[in-house]
């Protein structure tokens, strides 16, 4: 039980009459890189936002790093690092000022923040631009500085919404290595992504969500078996799974219409 970093039980989220996440049961262990895949609007971001405590679940429970996301929010936030799909950055601060600002929010003193951030800035090729205003940063640089903030307080759970989007190949490779390295150190990395190559390359286990429902979960081989696509690429598996779920959905609609 102690090895379980994220546990959701019957997690459900409704927006009015629309269900974004339906009965999500998921367990992710420490030291694991978990890839959360799904088409646009499948419920990936909603799930991550529930896990960070930013959205409240309509039903069910979610325990992250031993904290109930609906109750123990302050302790939860100290344990997690969250990278939003479109992270908010103060454009009028320089990269280093923003890192010091965020370090303060996470309870780090300036010396410690500087020490940690210089290491991370160097890893992500940002050292030379650290004193420039964030408003002058490219999309990739903004993504990298947001990632540095996510890692700054050394959280035990990383919840990353599309972390590789907008990065050049060298930076993408470094980020992937960095995440694998963190996982080797016992951190759980929960990645929501559309980039199947990333999922195939660095994830230990995968979950596929479609129309709010978790339709497959396991290692790549296990998912291949579930989708009856042995030996296929993850792209083929993903398309087969989502197509299958789509046709099931259409059949149920047709049956409903016939009745």
């Amino acid at each position: 039980m102690d090895h379980e970093a994220i546990v959701t039980d019957g997690l459900k989220k409704r927006y009015g009459s629309v269900t974004a996440v339906e009965n999500l049961n998921l367990t992710v262990r420490y030291g694991e890189v978990f890839g959360f895949l799904g088409p646009n609007g499948a419920g990936k971001t909603t799930t991550i936002k529930i896990l960070t405590g930013l959205l409240r679940p309509t039903a069910g429970t979610a325990i992250v790093a031993g904290h109930d996301v609906s109750k123990d929010t302050l302790a939860l936030k100290k344990s997690i690092g969250y990278l939003a799909e479109n992270p908010f950055l103060y454009n009028q601060l320089t990269g280093r000022e923003f890192l010091r600002f965020c370090g303060g929010l996470y309870g780090l003193d300036d010396a410690e923040t500087t020490r940690r951030s210089e290491t991370l800035l160097e890893m992500l090729d940002l050292t030379a631009r650290g004193n420039d205003l964030i408003e002058s940063y490219s999309h990739g640089m903004r993504q990298k500085i947001a990632l540095v903030i996510t890692l700054l307080h050394e959280p035990v759970v990383l919840l990353l919404d599309e972390p590789i989007i907008g990065l050049d190949p060298r930076s993408a490779r470094r980020v992937k290595d960095l995440l694998r390295d963190r996982a080797a150190g016992g951190v759980v990395v929960f990645i929501s992504t559309h980039i199947l190559e990333v999922a195939e390359r660095i994830c230990d286990r995968l979950g596929v969500i479609h129309q709010g429902r978790l339709i497959a979960v396991g290692t790549l081989n296990e998912i291949r078996e579930q989708s009856r696509c042995k030996g296929s690429t993850l792209e083929d598996v993903f398309l087969a799974l989502t197509r299958e779920a789509e046709s099931d959905h259409i059949s149920s609609l047709l049956e409903g219409g016939a009745q």
Binding site: G16, G53, L54, R56, K77, F88, N91, L93, L105
Partner: protein, 540 residues
């Protein structure tokens, strides 16, 4: 933790200042000096006026206190809007809410952030009360007493706004709650109008009613009991405490509701497409698609709809001002007339800047399209000018038969208001084009911090010019016997006296000043279009 949050804001302010061009820095300093000078000048003026009253000053005391308290009522409405923005829609909330910041810290920071608006009534009230204290030779005890009362009222204003917003978001649909909060300003204005209307038209004894009210206040003597400021401050503190209690219980639920992605996106009401069709059929209008986009935005955005509703109310006020035959009321009307010009200038200049700021990074998109920036600015201008003009003139037309205007009065009203809206829209769009920030997706940051003050300053200069023209026209066209007695008092101001003595030559002064204003607008407009055409879109 508080320090870390404020430190970031201080760094941002410093960086923003350092990265401003020298001209903008000069303009900001000039504006700051103007505001401080205005406060000092107003204070000195009030001290002078109060001192002239001598023994009668004591009679005035209740009214002074009521006058100092009233702006807080108005601030309450706008404060609610500020609270809503700071607590529910500010973009830094996603960062703050994800960080391990104790709820009390977020509450404190956002409360302070949203309470900047009460600084205005605090300054105005302080100015009036301190001037009263100075004129009545009251000691420091009075000043501390007045400060305590005002701070208490400011606290109560903020606390009530917080409570209204937390409860509204919790119990209403967030979209409706937002409209409800924004519409508060309009409702209060309407209520004020309903109160004002009987005083001006249904009965002729406005001042008799005022004196009765005054008398009623006199029967309640105002003494400097230390309990009064202590009580007000205590009430404010208790209310803030209650707000925190509400915040802990209601905020999370409300915030999540506001931020939940509405999956069922609202369908565009079909009846709105007529706006698009109209704009396409407009002959010869440059950048008609931009006009269509702006008009659809007016119709779809609750915030902009509130803007449109606000102007008609101002139109009603303006039309009411023409009425009174009483010389005493005429003084009031002249004062209100000036105030309403200022109101319209504030409204239209703010909308214009808002229209330019709203584009943010979209300027980059417009830059790569085969459309000239001059056409984009023209589109923005027509997108603002026509709805604003229609909203004012429709109300003027509606009020006209009710109050029995002659066609001449109606025509003059039409012309003056049209000229005002035209001028403010043109100068606002021109200044906005120079101040637009092409890198920001934040509407509040999407124009330089000097943009709005500069637009307002230009509008107010024009208001001043029009008021002077009005004074001179009335003086020139009215025979000396028919001029009211208080008119001579106005003539004692050197600039007014100088204009009167110029006789018909003053017309050249006015024409020259208007020409200068339009040349300035034209220059800024061209410079703005050139800037948008040539800007280097970096960091997008």
């Amino acid at each position: 933790m508080m320090w870390y949050l404020w430190r970031g804001k201080l760094w941002m302010a410093r960086n923003r200042w350092q990265n401003q061009p020298l001209v903008a820095k000069f303009f900001t300093l000039l504006l700051l000096a103007g505001v401080l000078g205005g406060i000092w000048g107003g204070y000195r003026y009030l001290v002078g006026r109060f001192s002239e009253m001598g023994a009668a000053l004591g009679l005035l005391s209740p009214l002074v206190f009521v006058g100092a308290a009233l702006p807080f009522l108005l601030a309450l409405v706008f404060e609610s809007r500020a609270v809503f923005c700071a607590f529910y829609t500010a973009s830094d909330l996603s960062l703050l809410r994800a960080a391990p910041i104790p709820p009390v810290t977020i509450f404190a920071v956002k409360t302070i952030e949203s309470s900047q608006l009460v600084l205005l009534p605090l300054t105005l009230g302080g100015m009036v009360l301190l001037a009263y204290g100075q004129a009545s030779h009251s000691g420091w005890g009075f000043r501390l007493w007045a400060l305590g009362i005002l701070c208490g009222m400011a606290l109560v204003t903020v606390a009530l706004s917080l409570a209204v917003v937390f409860l509204a978001i919790r119990f209403f649909n967030p979209r409706r709650a937002r409209g409800f909060i924004l519409g508060g300003a309009v409702l209060i204005s309407l209520a004020a109008l309903c109160l004002w209307l009987p005083f001006t038209y249904k009965s002729s004894d406005f001042f008799a009613a005022l004196f009765r009210f005054w008398g009623a206040l006199q029967s309640h003597s105002i003494t400097l009991t230390p309990g009064a400021p202590a009580g007000t401050l205590m009430a404010g503190a208790v209310l803030i405490g209650l707000d925190y209690w509400l915040y802990r219980r209601l905020f999370y639920y409300g915030w999540a509701r506001v931020h939940e992605v509405p999956i069922q996106l609202e369908q565009t009401p079909k009846h709105l497409h007529f706006l698009e069709r109209w704009s396409r059929s407009l002959p010869g209008l440059p950048c008609r698609h931009m006009v269509a986009k702006e008009w659809l935005s007016w119709a779809r955005s609750p915030r902009r709809l509130i803007y449109l509703l606000g102007l008609p109310l101002n139109g009603v006020w303006i039309s009411l001002l023409y009425f009174s035959k009483s010389s005493v009321l005429a003084v009031m009307n002249w004062i209100l007339f000036v105030l309403l010009f200022i109101l319209i200038s504030l409204a239209v200049a703010t909308w214009a800047i808002d229209l330019m700021a709203g584009e943010g990074r979209n300027w980059a998109l417009l830059r790569v399209m085969p459309v000239s920036m001059k056409d984009v600015l023209r589109g923005k201008f027509w997108g603002l000018f026509l709805p604003a003009l229609v909203s004012v003139e429709v109300v003027a037309l509606g009020v006209s038969p009710m109050v029995g205007w002659s066609w001449k009065t109606l025509l003059i009203t039409f012309l003056i208001t049209a000229y005002l809206v035209l001028s403010f829209a043109a100068s606002g769009i021109a200044v906005g084009s120079l101040a637009a920030n092409v890198r920001s997706n934040e509407p509040a940051q999407a124009v330089g911090c000097w943009g709005l003050p500069a637009a307002l300053l230009m509008s107010l200069l024009l208001v001043g010019l029009i008021v002077l023209s009005g004074f001179w026209s009335f003086d020139y066209l009215t025979t000396a016997e028919r001029l009211p007695s208080w008119w001579q008092g106005l003539r004692s101001f050197s600039i007014l006296n100088w204009l009167v003595r110029l006789r018909l030559w003053a017309l050249f002064i006015f024409a020259g000043a208007h020409a200068l204003f339009w040349l300035l607008v034209r220059g800024i407009w061209r410079a703005g279009a050139r800037r948008l055409e040539r800007m280097e879109v970096t960091g997008v």
